[in-house]
Amino acid sequence: MTIRNRSDRATCSNPIDAAVLADYWLGVLTGAEEEAVEEHLLDCDQCGARLREVIALAEGIRSLAREGRLRMVVSDAFVKRAAEEGLRVRVYAPPPGGGVQCTVTAEDDILIARLAANLRGEKRVDLCICDERGVEQFRLPDIPVHTRANSVAYQESITFWKAAPTTKMIARLVTIDEAGGERLLGEYTFNHTRSLPGRAAE
């Protein structure tokens, strides 16, 4: 005799949204909300499966961050946490309008460009990444910047730069006014020298 769950084939009549399950996983629900979610989860395998997907997503994001693969503006807390976890963080900080010689080694885990600029009072700041001729390749629009901050910490993909040939990258911080006009806040040149053995990616 095999016993099966009678409710296996039924559809959950009151599914919990994945975003709420993420709040549950993060422990940010109120006591009553958390209690309601837990009672439901102890009775519903479909929402349990959704919670597992949320946990896998959270773990996946954590891995991506640890692998230094994301191109994004990060907080000082992120850089500090990476260093505390034993990750090797390489930071380059060219002055505005200037350049810096840089490289990455096989041991590096996280690559940070610290871009100094006066950001006081700026409502919207974009970060433009350009090739060696200064032609924009991609843009991170409306990056998070603290209005009292005097620099932006930009994480480049360590996996990309480990594979890259010797080349130059130019980063520009620009502010956008309400009419859509752009004003340069700072330009920064990174002269990358490949130091890893083997063929570089095309």
Binding site: M1, T2, I3, R4, N5, R6, S7, D17, A18, A19, A22, D23, Y24, W25, L26, G27, V28, E38, E39, L41, L42, D43, D45, G48, L51, R52, E53, V54, I55, A56, L57, A58, E59, G60, I61, R62, S63, L64, A65, R66, R69, L70, R71, M72, V73, V74, S75, A77, F78, R81, L140, P141, D142, I143, P144, H146, T147
Partner: protein, 181 residues
């Protein structure tokens, strides 16, 4: 022969006498749910496994002894036991060994822990495709383990806004990963 039992019928079946198949089904059914509770509250796979074992043995003990008077409240009973056991574990109480000696731990071996596997490259593209602020929120939340107040301070927005950004990002990521909401 296959038979279908609700949670309440399963509880009654176990309470009415020794039925190894019903007890095994209780473990198969409840263990993944209890383990999720354990992962959430204990943040440790081994501790979640220990909790699962302890809660299910306590539940089985109660069912065999006929202590669950309202079988339709099996889930509530298990949840209550989860809460008490987590408190016990945090206090360092060790009932586990005695219970294991009494009931054995073999039943858990039949339970599959199915955590979904994600396509890492696809996830990279999906996270990269998020808007800057949404990406910042999910990374600060899930990697940095920053509170909503910390994230709000970094972004210069309200905590309620951080919640909105986080919810939007999670829905977009699930959509991008091809997971039905």
């Amino acid at each position: 022969m296959d038979i279908e039992l609700s949670d309440a019928e399963l509880a009654q079946q176990i309470g009415s006498g020794s039925d190894q198949e019903a007890e095994a089904e209780l473990f198969r059914r409840m263990a993944p749910r209890v383990r999720l509770y354990g992962l959430r509250h204990l943040r440790d796979e081994q501790a979640a496994d220990d909790l699962t074992q302890q809660v299910l043995i306590t539940t089985l003990e109660a069912l065999r002894a006929g202590r669950l008077r309202e079988p339709e409240k099996l889930a509530s009973f298990v949840l209550g036991t989860c809460r008490m056991t987590v408190l016990d574990l945090r206090r360092g109480a060790q009932r586990r060994q005695r219970l294991l000696e009494q009931f054995g731990a073999g039943l858990l071996a039949q339970v599959q822990w199915a955590m979904p596997r994600l396509d890492h490259d696809l996830l990279t593209r999906c996270v990269q495709d998020l808007k800057e602020r949404e990406r910042t929120v999910v990374v600060m939340t899930f990697y940095d383990e920053q509170t909503a107040a910390d994230v709000a301070g970094f972004l210069g927005v309200s905590e309620a806004n951080v919640r909105v950004l986080r919810h939007r990002a999670i829905r977009q990521l699930r959509d991008c990963m091809g997971v039905a909401v």
